[in-house]
């Protein structure tokens, strides 16, 4: 017999709603909870938006711990860890999910120290074997060149961060019933030795990469910031967004917010057009869930062709302007 306890999610919000990864984790947690007959719980921190708990319940949560405290809203990680550890000790879950996000990468290891928990980062799959009372977690290693399956036992808390788009959300059911526990005002916090002075959001170029149906992405082969203008033209024509590999980001041709790959965003558009991208595994791991991949690269041996559905071996500077005109004609 297994002795699994509840599954807990650390929720995140975006524009006053649960973020996409949070909804995906709720879906994944719901399926696992139904398999082993436990509850799904979520911690929501620092937001006054009262409908978030109802939203979480509609997607599959049984119990919401809603911490409403302005002192926690300014992304002070020390205080957030303190509050999460406190609630976590009360719930004593078997599994705790974070998104593999800015917050998850930062807080999951700190919380693991506080709770003496097991830890597995950047999971793309989590399975439970109730008979063996163990949890199997699959994660990419060596920049995605290999996959490792790690086992955790159910007797201690296991903290996992979950990669975007690796679990599937369940459609909202507004009739679902759940419980909300409000934790407000009376949280006693320790003194923090760290303060956030400034937070700047870089304005997005057009669409959110994670939501875009079409992405035109450039790699080191673009050669400089100017080449991205052609990619923007093509993306605009297709109502898509522009992405990048790590080289253009490290070279400061484009901002980090455009990076796709292991250290950037994970995307799954209908169409991914890779231009001047050699196909390093750390990039491939971010776009391999795209339905259709088209690669344009002047090097016919580029690794990116191997993971593509269609390829054109040519210099993008020559072919993109012509391709854009031909697509424009077709669309009219």
């Amino acid at each position: 017999m297994h002795n699994f306890r509840d599954i807990l999610i650390m929720g995140e919000c975006e524009n006053g709603r649960l973020s996409a990864i949070t909804r995906e984790m709720i879906g994944g947690a719901r399926r696992l909870a139904d398999q082993i007959h436990v509850r799904t719980c979520i911690i929501l921190i620092g937001s006054k938006k009262a409908s978030l708990d109802k939203e979480a319940i509609s997607y599959g949560i049984d119990k919401v711990f809603f911490v409403q405290d302005d002192r926690l809203a300014d992304v002070n990680r020390d205080l957030q860890v303190f509050v999460m550890a406190d609630i976590c000790k009360k719930i004593n879950p078997s599994l705790c999910f974070f998104g593999q996000t800015d917050l998850g990468r930062d807080i999951a290891p700190r919380l693991a120290v506080q709770l003496d928990a097991g830890l597995c980062m950047d999971c793309v799959d989590v399975k439970i074997d109730p008979d063996q009372a163990c949890i199997y977690q699959t994660r990419p290693v060596y920049g995605g060149k290999a996959m490792a399956v790690m086992i955790a036992l159910s007797d201690r808390i296991q903290i996992n961060t979950i990669r975007a788009k690796s679990m599937e959300s369940i459609p909202a059911d507004h009739e679902r019933v759940g419980e909300t526990i409000l934790i407000a005002g009376d949280v006693s916090l320790p003194k923090s030795h760290i303060s956030l002075l400034k937070r700047e959001e870089i304005p997005k170029e057009g669409l959110n990469l994670e939501d875009a149906k079409v992405i035109v992405s450039g790699g080191g082969g673009i050669g400089g910031p100017d080449g991205f203008a052609l990619l923007r033209d093509l993306a605009r024509l297709l109502n898509g967004a522009v992405g990048s590999t790590r080289v253009p980001v490290d070279e400061h041709w484009v901002p980090l917010s455009m990076e796709i790959g292991q250290t950037g965003k994970i995307v799954s558009p209908d169409l991914y057009i890779a231009v001047g991208i050699s196909g390093a595994t750390q990039h491939i791991t971010g776009c391999l869930r795209s339905k259709q991949i088209v690669t344009i690269n002047k090097d016919p041996e580029a690794n990116m062709f191997k993971i593509s559905d269609f390829g054109l071996a040519a210099d993008y500077r020559t072919v993109l302007p012509i391709l854009i005109e031909k697509i424009r004609t077709l669309k009219n």
């Binding site: 930062d106 120290v113 060596y142 920049g143 790690m150 959001e201 169409l271 088209v294």
Partner: protein, 264 residues
């Protein structure tokens, strides 16, 4: 400013996938023959950050490498970049350790060194890609911490730190002593020059074992892990790629335009 930098040597992350091999039965990655280990690129940036601070504020940089004595060449490179001294921790008991044991051993090494103002680590190692050792170590040492920094300034006994987040930047002020993990957005690590290389070649890099550090062996090695490896395999992402051609480029592009439009 006394700075300690923790570094690891890794298989070259630019190793082409075809040369990457595993031994699935023993759950190991098999390094290609004759392929030298390199400093983890993120750790090289942690050394770079330390050297930039030292150039401005003065101070002393100690590098710790936890791994194998064959890492001498890799660790010596950090001395050539501008670190003052270095030590390598190696011990057969370390084999099979997880991130928690790694952070614990590094904590013991930091305590052996004694006084410090700042500890720097890379944001993650490019082999196992966990990105947690720095954070766990800060937890064990009770240090203030910011992860994935792209810039740092010293202001008295405080640090001003820029942190890279997915859609922008954050600026933090924190008290020393502190631990920072350095991200790729920090910039480029310097290439060591002649004089630095000569100076580094003369230095002695001591080897420490886990007994020297006073480690509790129950917390180390394959038996102490919280998550055990069950399997490791090579995934296949390959698709059948149709190369788009035509009698001339224009015809090929006609076809490609149709493929693109019908895929949207």
């Amino acid at each position: 400013m006394n700075i300690i930098v923790c570094v690891k040597a890794v298989l070259d992350p630019d190793l082409p996938p075809v040369k990457f091999a595993i031994d699935r039965k023993n759950k190991l990655v098999v390094p290609p023959e004759g392929m030298p280990y390199v400093i983890n690129p993120y750790d090289a940036l942690a050394v770079e950050a330390a050297v930039r601070i030292k150039e401005k504020e003065g101070g002393h940089i100690t590098v710790i490498g936890l791994g194998d004595k064959s890492w001498d060449v890799v660790i010596r490179k950090t001395l050539a970049m501008g670190a003052d001294e270095a030590a390598i921790i190696c011990d057969p008991a370390f084999t099979g350790s997880d991130s928690f044991a790694t952070a614990y051993i590094l904590k013991k090494a930091v305590q052996k060194i004694g006084s410090f103002d700042l500890i720097l680590c890379g944001r993650q190692a490019s082999d196992w890609d966990n990105g947690v050792v720095g954070s766990i170590m800060a937890g064990y040492l009770g240090l203030h911490m910011v992860t994935r920094i792209k810039g740092v300034e010293v202001a008295g006994n405080k640090l001003m730190v820029q942190r890279a987040i997915m859609n922008g930047n954050e600026t933090y002020e924190l008290d020393l002593p502190a631990l920072l993990t350095v991200s790729n957005e920090f910039g480029q690590a310097r290439i060591p020059l002649g004089r630095g290389i000569i100076m580094a070649a003369r230095k002695n890099i001591p080897l420490w074992n886990l007994s020297d550090l006073g480690c509790d062996f129950a917390r180390i090695g394959a038996d102490a892990v919280k998550n055990k490896m069950h399997d490791i395999y090579l995934p296949s992402y390959e698709r059948k790629c149709e190369m788009v051609t035509g009698t001339d480029l224009s015809e090929a592009l006609d076809r490609l335009a149709k493929i693109v439009v019908s895929s949207c």
